[in-house]
């Protein structure tokens, strides 16, 4: 297993080589069409028995991350995942997290040097201090060169890696080595009906989905569509994959909304208590 380089004050050229070795970004091997086996890894490394549906969701998500997305190719997506993992140990991020206001702290991120500084800023901030983001920060990110679609895809990747790595750590499995990227080009398909409305980013309403376009709400009962479902709809395939991952690890929307009956081994109250504490620790406004 490759170990993540701990000293990120080393020159960028060496850091890039470390990242290439760590993520195998230099090689996109078409012969590895089989799955990573992330589910097998989790099952083997966990200290506890993991239900098959969670193993399947874990594997599906990592297979999605390692492939080309809508705006980022697979290598870039894995580089983003690497930066998500790197962010908690970034000195700039640590200083900002500890400061009363992150906006008073200037500086450069300790990164692998593969992605632009703008994308690194987005990935690191979403990972380490998302609860104190402002619309102005988002607008500055756009001005610095990331598009809204690219940004939403980064957000989906950050959320997914945070979920996957948190679960693996929670069950004592450690950290899954990043896989090799799949080949292929990003689809670059933008939903024609997306528009600015409720969020900082354009979103797509169910009624504005055109025939033939992917439906980000396909797994959401119409009566349950709310803003958290709209959040990633500018990149529908990310919204679909996030919904599948999220539902597997929490509960489907139908079960979560049925407070008259209990599902699984936790009560609704216990589930919400955990959720609320995690959200409070993350300063999540929503």
């Amino acid at each position: 297993m490759h170990q993540r380089p701990r000293n990120l004050s080393i020159p960028r050229a060496i850091a890039r080589d470390d990242l290439i070795e760590y993520t195998s970004l230099a090689v996109a091997d078409d012969s590895m069409a089989d799955t990573l086996g992330a589910g097998d890894w989790l099952s083997a490394e966990s200290d506890y028995e993991i239900p098959r549906d969670l193993l399947g969701a874990f594997e599906r998500a990592w297979n999605w991350i390692r492939g080309p997305g809508t705006w980022w190719d697979a290598a870039a997506r894995l580089a983003i995942a690497a930066e998500v993992r790197n962010a908690p140990s970034c000195p700039l991020c640590r200083e900002r997290r500890a400061a009363p206001s992150p906006y008073a702290i200037e500086g450069g991120h300790a990164s692998f040097g593969v992605l632009s500084e703008c994308v690194v800023e987005v990935a690191h901030r979403l990972r380490t201090d998302s609860g104190r983001l402002r619309a102005r920060w988002f607008e500055e990110a756009l001005a610095n060169g990331i598009t809204d679609g690219e940004y939403v895809e980064v957000a989906a990747l950050v959320a997914s890696v945070a979920l996957l790595d948190s679960f693996a750590r929670a069950v004592g499995a450690g950290t899954l080595p990043l896989p090799k990227p799949h080949t292929g080009d990003p689809s670059r398909v933008r939903p024609s009906g997306a528009a600015l409305g409720v969020a900082w980013v354009p979103t797509l309403e169910p009624a504005d989905i055109k025939p033939g376009e992917p439906n980000p709400y396909r797994d959401v009962p119409p009566e349950h569509v709310c803003n958290i479902h709209r959040a990633l709809s500018l990149v529908p395939t990310e919204a679909i994959e996030w919904s599948a991952l999220s539902s597997a690890f929490y509960r489907t929307d139908a079960a979560a909304g049925d407070v008259e009956n209990e599902y699984g081994d936790l009560t609704h109250a216990q589930r919400e208590l955990i959720a609320a504490r995690v959200a409070a620790l993350a300063d999540c406004f929503y």
Partner: protein, 103 residues
Amino acid sequence: MISGENYSLEGVKHGGVSGVTHGDELLAFAEALVVGDDASLDCARRSIVEAMGVAAFVEAAGVAAQFAGIVRVADATGIPVDPGDEEFTEAIQAELGISEKFE
């Protein structure tokens, strides 16, 4: 609460008493996973398994992990509270000290 249980937001805020069955163990686990070190996480993990069993622990891990992700979806995109939930949500946010919306 709709389910009939009463609970205290103090547990959510400070990790203290919640009024929820096995709330202490669940809160300690959530905190250890988000901000704790490996030793505290291991301790919290064992407490849940002893109190509630492996299946409940794995489900708790899933919930905590899911929220570690979903909060970033919400924060990254600036989505507002859904219409109709504002008054209830504002009361909760005020009690939790998350009452400032960043513009």
